[in-house]
Symmetry: C2
Subunit: 227 residues, 2 copies
Amino acid sequence: MNTVPVKTRPTLRAEDTRRRIYEAAMELFREKGFEQTTMRDIAAKAGVALGGAYYYFSGKEAIVLAFYHEMQEGSHQEILDALGGHKKLKDRIRVVLEKRFALLEPNRMFCDALFRHAPDSADPLSPFSEETRAIRERAFEHMQWAIEGGDVKVPADLAPHMPRLLWMYQMGLILFWLYDRSPQQARTRKLMDKSLSLLVGLLRASSLPLMKPLRKMVLEMVETVEQ
Amino acid sequence: MNTVPVKTRPTLRAEDTRRRIYEAAMELFREKGFEQTTMRDIAAKAGVALGGAYYYFSGKEAIVLAFYHEMQEGSHQEILDALGGHKKLKDRIRVVLEKRFALLEPNRMFCDALFRHAPDSADPLSPFSEETRAIRERAFEHMQWAIEGGDVKVPADLAPHMPRLLWMYQMGLILFWLYDRSPQQARTRKLMDKSLSLLVGLLRASSLPLMKPLRKMVLEMVETVEQ
DNA sequence: CGTCTATATTGAACACGTTCAACATGAGGA
DNA sequence: TCCTCATGTTGAACGTGTTCAATATAGACG
């Protein structure tokens, strides 16, 4: 008979299976990269039939999405702590970037999957997609923290855009880093230094009355993109 | 006997088959987009067996590459002509951009294929790859023309980087345009206006002695990226 | 204990891009 | 005319991500 839908067991050994699949995938992704890793590989390593992987993850990309999510959540407290000792804006932004790179570094082999269809906000894995909104907004928050506690006064008209702009700056750096073939990704490090100086310098200058017209142009452009 | 390898017929009805495959692919790509179009579709429409398509094109992406190449070659003279009437740098860059968009517009449905693995210069279809070098350098040339005949004096240290920088600016606009869902891609048009003003304004200002330190920072950054 | 049913698991099947060994074609030379 | 063989052409087969109907499992309930 149609009884009340019994309280379905909330967590079961199912969570264990999910975990096994996730871990197997991570290991293989780190070893061979995203493209080179097969769903059959993952299922085999996890000791599950092929279809099993699809019971827990809607597809191969969804596993990477889970990683993306976990990484962002895991960084939240760490970043807050790491920001503690710094006053200079440049250092504060650097802290956020460094933390991000530290978390991505062991997974460099497969992070390119995150940018596969990056500009297409319809793609679930895109950094601009609805599916990644929560993750993205967490990252905005980190940049907001960096600015708020810093030693640079940001003009009021620019302020609301800064978290998103800094996030995009971060994404650009990550993209560069992913395909940076220099030893130890030294070029990325150099680019980070140079661009951070430039960024903070421009931000400082942006408060000068002389800069009003330029700031207005930049704002109009930013608003056109964000709209 | 091992005679001299007879002069192989240079062009044959083979060129016709190639053409048929290319045209069929273009039509289908325009209709359904790159992903949605099947190599089997293409072969069928061209009246060829599946394998036949691979005799003329190394893969699905190679067909798009052929289009990319053809588009760039076709624009060369047109752009040169169109630049004729303009003196203002802003107009000259706009002419180049407009021409590019005019050529891409009918193929908007599948141009995303060109950016599939854009940042990976190892991917043949990437705008940064060895395979697309010729195409890319043609595009640099167009930007060089725009600057040379314009009314803005570019500082000597910045000058050698301008063609590539303007090309990257163009690529960014195209990327934005591809995923611009506003009617008639009005946002892209607006972004083009705003960013062009900003760009030319900055370029003008960059000659001011006051700007020397800022220019130096930008240069260092650009050189880090290009290296 | 036995039955029921949502949950979990399986493996065959599909559509895709790509590869390849086999075969067809037709221009040049005997 | 017939042979040769580089050029074209074919379709079966492979490995891939993904789907799905069928089956197994195990906790809830009588």
